[in-house]
C-alpha cells in the first residue's frame, strides 16, 4: 500500500501545522469547551488527515494530536504528566479510537482507490482487446495496442520490438521517438528483462526494478533513454519480443500499480507478435509456393516449346538416316528445310527464355539512339515473313519519323507483337503496322483482325505464361512473348498498351521522339 507514500512528508507538515492551529484556536476557550469536546475536535482532525494522507500520516497525527491534547488541555497543562486517572484513561481511549478510526478510514480509502484502479484496468483491458480484435492484420493490432498503452499510462510513447539478428521495431505509437532503434543500453536492458522474465525499467517510469543508468563520461543521456521500461513478451517460454514503454508516466490510474495491467498487455502483445510472425512465415511459404507453381508452369510451357521443334528435327533426321528408303531429291530438300527452320524456331524459344531472364535479372542496359521507325517496322516485317505467311502485313509510317530507343530491343518487341498477331489471326487476314506522332511521342501500332481478347483477359496479357483460356490449347507459344514486349519497351523508355474488340486487337508502343516535334518533317 504505497499509494500515498510520496507525499507523506507534506502530510506530516500539514498535520503538524493543523494541530498547531487547532491548539491556538481552542486554547483560549479551554475552560468553556469542556475536555470531551476538545478531544472530539482532535479526533476529527486525525480522521481528516488519515483519510487524506493515508494510514501512516494518520497514525502520526493520532500521536501528535494525543500529545497536544495532553500538553495543552489536560491538567496539569503544559506538562505531559496526567494527574487524574480519569484523564489518563480518556487519553488512552482517545489514542486507541483515533488510531482505529484513522486506520479504518484510510483502508476504506485505499480500497476505493484500488477498486478504481481495477475498474480502469478492466476498461483498458477491454479497450485493448477490442482494439486488437478489430484488426486482422497483426501489425495493425500491435499498433493499436501501443496506442492503448500510451493512453492508459499517459506515456510519451510505446513500441513493440522483436528479436532477430538485431532488435527491430514491429509497431509503435505516440511520439515519433518511440519508433527509434534501441540504443546499446536499451539492448542490454532488454536482454536483462528477458533473462529475468520480468520487466526492467529505469528513470521515472515507475515500472519494475528501478535502475539508474550511468551516462558515459562527457555525455548526458537523452531524456528518452533515461525513462524507459522494458517488458518481455512471452508465449510459454518462448520470447516473442519486448514492449518498450517510454517514461515518464503521467497522471494515470495505474501509476502506482502498473504491473497488473502491463502483464495483461504483455500477454496480449506476445500473442499478437507470434501471430504476426506466423503470418509472415505463411506469406513466405505462399510466395515460395507461387514461385514453385510458376516454375512448374515454365517447365511445362518450355518443355513443350522445345520438344515440338525437336520432334520435327528428329522426324526429319531419322527419316533421312533410314537406309532402307531411297528418298527423292524433293523429300531430301523438305527434310533439310524442316531441320533448318525448326532449328531456328528452337533458337527463338531459347532466346525468349534468355531475354526474359535478362529482363528479370536486370542486366540489360538499353542503348538508346535515334531510330527511323519506318525501317524498324520493315525490318520486323521481314524477320517474321515465315510466321506471317498467308497473312497480309502492311507498313505505314512517316519516312522521317525517328524515335529515341534501343533499336534491337524495340525490333524484338515488334517481332513478338507481329508473331502474336499472326498466331491469333486466320489466313488472308491483315496485320497493320503503323506509326504516327502523338504529342511529344511516336505511337507505333500493331493491329490484327483476330478474334480479339476478352475484356476479362485484357489486364493480364502481359503476364508471364498468360494465355486466354480458350486459346490455351489452340495456340502454341511460350506464353512469354508479350511479357518480353513489355519488358523491352519499358527498358527502352517507352510504354505499351493494348486495346481489343471482337474485330481485332491493337497493341500500341509509345516512344519518345528523337527530334522535337517542330523539327520533324
Amino acid at each position: 500500500m504505497k499509494d500515498v507514500n510520496e507525499n507523506s512528508l507534506a502530510g506530516v507538515l500539514v498535520s503538524a501545522a493543523a494541530t498547531g492551529l487547532l491548539v491556538l484556536g481552542l486554547h483560549p476557550f479551554r475552560s468553556d469547551l469542556g475536555l470531551a469536546n476538545v478531544g472530539f475536535l482532535f479526533l476529527l482532525l486525525t480522521l481528516i488527515i488519515a483519510s487524506y494522507w493515508g494510514r501512516r500520516v494518520g497514525l502520526f497525527e493520532a500521536v501528535v494530536a494525543n500529545l497536544a491534547f495532553n500538553f495543552f488541555f489536560i491538567d496539569p497543562v503544559y506538562r505531559f504528566t496526567v494527574d487524574e486517572p480519569r484523564n489518563a484513561l480518556a487519553l488512552v481511549v482517545f489514542l486507541v479510537v483515533s488510531v482505529i478510526s484513522g486506520t479504518l478510514i484510510s483502508m476504506a480509502r485505499e480500497a476505493a482507490t484500488a477498486a478504481r484502479a481495477r475498474q480502469a484496468e478492466t476498461e483498458v483491458a477491454l479497450a485493448l482487446s477490442r482494439a486488437m480484435s478489430g484488426h486482422m492484420e497483426p501489425r495493425r493490432a500491435l499498433e493499436s495496442l501501443c496506442r492503448e498503452v500510451v493512453a492508459a499510462f499517459d506515456a510519451p510513447g510505446a513500441a513493440v520490438l522483436t528479436p532477430g539478428g538485431s532488435w527491430t521495431v514491429l509497431a509503435w505509437a505516440g511520439d515519433p521517438a518511440a519508433a527509434r532503434e534501441p540504443s546499446n543500453e536499451e539492448t542490454q536492458l532488454m536482454s536483462e528483462a528477458l533473462a529475468r522474465h520480468g520487466p526492467v525499467g529505469f528513470g521515472h517510469t515507475g515500472l519494475g526494478r528501478r535502475r539508474r543508468i550511468v551516462p558515459p563520461k562527457g555525455r548526458t543521456l537523452p531524456q528518452r533513454e533515461r525513462d524507459v521500461a522494458l517488458v518481455p513478451l512471452m508465449v510459454g517460454d518462448e520470447v516473442q519480443g519486448v514492449l518498450r514503454l517510454d517514461g515518464p508516466i503521467g497522471a494515470s490510474p495505474f501509476r502506482h500499480e502498473p504491473m497488473r495491467l502491463l502483464s495483461a498487455v504483455a500477454s496480449e502483445a506476445a500473442v499478437a507478435v507470434q501471430r504476426a510472425q506466423l503470418g509472415q512465415a505463411a506469406a513466405h511459404a505462399e510466395a515460395l509456393r507461387e514461385a514453385d507453381e510458376l516454375k512448374t508452369a515454365l517447365m511445362a510451357s518450355i518443355s513443350h516449346d522445345l520438344k515440338t521443334p525437336l520432334a520435327a528435327i528428329k522426324a526429319a533426321i531419322t527419316s533421312i538416316l533410314d537406309r532402307n528408303i531411297a528418298w527423292t531429291q524433293e523429300d531430301m530438300v523438305a527434310f533439310h528445310e524442316t531441320i533448318d527452320s525448326q532449328a531456328d524456331r528452337l533458337n527463338r524459344v531459347i532466346s525468349d527464355i534468355l531475354d526474359l531472364n535478362r529482363i528479370e535479372a536486370g542486366t540489360l542496359t538499353p542503348d538508346e539512339t535515334p531510330v527511323r521507325v519506318l525501317e524498324l517496322l520493315q525490318d520486323a516485317r521481314d524477320v517474321t515473313a515465315f510466321e506471317t505467311r498467308g497473312r497480309v502485313v502492311t507498313v505505314e509510317a512517316p519516312p522521317e519519323l525517328r524515335v529515341l530507343a534501343d533499336e534491337s530491343l524495340i525490333r524484338q518487341a515488334l517481332v513478338n507483337l507481329i508473331e502474336n498477331a499472326a498466331k491469333y489471326s486466320t489466313h488472308d487476314a491483315e496485320i497493320q503496322l503503323k506509326a504516327r506522332i502523338q504529342g511529344n511521342e511516336a505511337l507505333i501500332t500493331v493491329q490484327d483482325e483476330g478474334p480479339g481478347i476478352a475484356p476479362e483477359d485484357l489486364p493480364y496479357v502481359f503476364e508471364r505464361f498468360y494465355r486466354a483460356e480458350e486459346h490455351s490449347r489452340r495456340v502454341k507459344g511460350s506464353g512469354l512473348g508479350l511479357t518480353i514486349v513489355k519488358g523491352f519497351v519499358e527498358l527502352s523508355g517507352g510504354k505499351v498498351r493494348v486495346e481489343s474488340s471482337p474485330a481485332g486487337t491493337r497493341f500500341s508502343i509509345s516512344l519518345p521522339l528523337a527530334t522535337p516535334v517542330g523539327a520533324t518533317v
Binding site: 510451357s301 513443350h304 520438344k307 515440338t308 520432334a311 520435327a312 522426324a315 533410314d322 490449347r473
Partner: protein
C-alpha cells in the same frame, strides 16, 4: 520406294506441317497408305471417310484436344489409336489412354520406333476384334476357357486377382493399360489405390519369373503397365 497401295491405312493427325510431312513420307515409304489431318474436325471427318486401320494422334490440336477425339471415336470404333505428345502434357497422355488410346509416344520420337509401335497397335487391333479363348504371347499361354495359365508348358498357379490381372493384360497385349483402367477392370469401379495394384503386379511378376523366360510385363512410369507383344 514403291508405294504399296494395299498396305495398312494410317490416319496422321498432327498440326505441325513439317512433322506431318515427315511422318507421311516415311510411312508411305514403308508401305502404309497415309491420310493427314491438321486439326480435330478434319481428323473426325477423315476417320469416317478413310476408315483407317490405325490412327496416329497428336494431343495438342488447334481446335480440340486429342483426348476428346479419342473419347468420341471410342463410342463407335475399336480402331487402334497411338497418341503422340510432347513431354509437357503427361496428364493429357494418361487421360487419352484412360479414354481408350492404345499406346503413346513421346516427342521427339525416332521413325523406326514409331513404325514398331504402329505394327504392335495394328496386331492388337486384329486380335481384340476376334474372340480368342486361348491367348499365346511367346511362351505364355492364357487359356480363358479352362482358366489355365502356362509358361514354357508348365502350369502357373495364380490367385483369382492375379489371374484377372494377367488376363486383362494378355487380352490387351501390346497396349498400355493405365493404373485407372486396370484398377477399374480388376478391382471394380471406384477403386483408386495403386498400392494394391503394385503389390498384385509384383506377385504376378514373381510367378512369371521363370529361368529362361523374358520379362513380359513392362512398367510404364507414372502411367501404367503393358504386356509386351513383340514376338
Amino acid at each position: 520406294m514403291s508405294e504399296v497401295r494395299s498396305g495398312p491405312r494410317v490416319l496422321v493427325v498432327e498440326d505441325e506441317a513439317q512433322i506431318r510431312y515427315a511422318l507421311r513420307r516415311y510411312l508411305e515409304s514403308n508401305g502404309y497408305q497415309v491420310r493427314e489431318a491438321e486439326d480435330g474436325a478434319t481428323a473426325l471427318r477423315e476417320f469416317e471417310l478413310f476408315k483407317p486401320d490405325v490412327m496416329l494422334l497428336d494431343l495438342m490440336l488447334p481446335d480440340m484436344g486429342g483426348v476428346d477425339i479419342v473419347r468420341e471415336l471410342r463410342q463407335t470404333h475399336e480402331t487402334p489409336i497411338v497418341v503422340l505428345s510432347a513431354m509437357g502434357d503427361e496428364r493429357t497422355k494418361v487421360s487419352a489412354l484412360d479414354e481408350g488410346a492404345d499406346d503413346y509416344l513421346t516427342k521427339p520420337v525416332g521413325m523406326e520406333e514409331l513404325l514398331a509401335r504402329l505394327r504392335v497397335a495394328l496386331r492388337h487391333g486384329t486380335r481384340s476384334s476376334g474372340k480368342d479363348a486361348r491367348i499365346s504371347i511367346g511362351e505364355l499361354v492364357v487359356d480363358v476357357d479352362r482358366r489355365l495359365v502356362t509358361l514354357q508348358g508348365n502350369e502357373v498357379h495364380l490367385t483369382p486377382t492375379e489371374y484377372a490381372l494377367l488376363k486383362y493384360l494378355a487380352v490387351h497385349a501390346g497396349k498400355v493399360l493405365t493404373h485407372t483402367m486396370i484398377l477399374r477392370e480388376v478391382w471394380g469401379a471406384g477403386y483408386t489405390d495403386t498400392a494394391v495394384l503394385r503389390t498384385a503386379m509384383n506377385q504376378l511378376r514373381a510367378k512369371l519369373d521363370v529361368d529362361g523366360a523374358k520379362p513380359l510385363i513392362r512398367t510404364e512410369p507414372r502411367i501404367g503397365y503393358r504386356l509386351l507383344d513383340e514376338a
